[in-house]
Subunit: 163 residues, 2 copies
DNA sequence: ACTATTTAAGTAACCCGTTACGCAAATGTG
DNA sequence: CACATTTGCGTAACGGGTTACTTAAATAGT
């Protein structure tokens, strides 16, 4: 077999493996979209879905729902706007906000895109061996980090070891 | 509880969750290093370890061992050089290559850094509930993707569904 | 020996996400 | 009502990684 040093690193390799795996999906998805001539980015998927569910949302609402920082959402939304997938209108009750929603173009293209997403989900299922275990494991990490993150835990451990 | 839309997305949220989790570790580690006044970046860890194991390596060798692209390694190495952690000398047998190794400064600082890494590993173990299951699951995904990546599988599924 | 091909590395152009900062609008408080 | 604080969101500066392209050196092949 081939040697994979990140695997060999064991616990210390976890972070980089998560990133590497995520990238493997992202770049592969990107190429897939290109091959079927779809003018969208992989991670717009989550924006499409959340705006399908909620119709109208603000930047901050999306950021909270996805648990990402607001600048991340701003960037995504700006690109999607530039390509005409997002409609945004000033909130009449709070002029700081813009109510975001899917554009006509987005709604129009969605049916086609959805057939690709369905195939993609099946591909992910295959890669997961049709087993939900990885999702459960991710949830455990997410919850534990929410309780106390890496930095807090590491500092606590050092404090306990020292004296 | 709070709602996490990426979790709700199920299979379609996997990629973004992997990235989000990786980032949670990276940025928390970054802050930890800052708090203990360590002048290194989180993902230099893998470079330090692999050069501790192998003494001398080229950019391509590191890229292969970590299964990352060579430009990724070039960038890491350049930053580490700038901070004085990497020694590089032209390979006398092949002038395209540079043999990379840890500098005196790196070797000097390593003992201290290692105490932090040990605490960090324990923190990761806590976050994993002292259970190796997540590592096994990642290995499954890595292997399945190595056999056929997301794009190939998705195209295959579409081909099978169509006719 | 002398081209043709492969390989090592570096660079450019992108996409992703984060923290830090700034500004304007909304809300709270004396 | 006026001043202070909070909230929404846009931008800048970083750090990470990828693919595509280029250059130079090593290796193949006739």
């Amino acid at each position: 077999m081939e040697e994979d040093f990140l695997v060999e690193m064991d616990y210390a390799g976890l972070t980089a493996r998560l990133k590497r795996l995520s990238d493997a999906f992202v770049y592969s998805t990107k190429e897939f979209y290109k091959s079927v001539d779809l003018d969208i980015e992989p991670n717009w998927h989550m924006i499409f879905l959340i705006l399908q569910k909620n119709e109208q949302m603000t930047v901050m609402e999306i950021a909270e729902a996805l648990q990402l920082s607001h600048p991340a959402i701003v960037k995504l939304i700006n690109k999607m706007k530039k390509r005409g997938y997002i409609k945004s209108e000033k909130d009449p009750e709070d002029f700081r906000k813009y109510q975001l929603s899917l554009s006509e173009k987005a709604l129009e293209k969605l049916p086609e895109i959805e057939t690709y997403w369905e195939a993609g989900n099946e591909a992910v299922a295959q890669i997961m061996n049709h087993n939900r275990e990885i999702l459960k494991q991710l949830e455990i990490l997410e919850q534990n980090i929410a309780e106390a993150d890496f930095k807090q835990r590491t500092e606590q451990i050092l404090k306990t070891n020292k004296p």
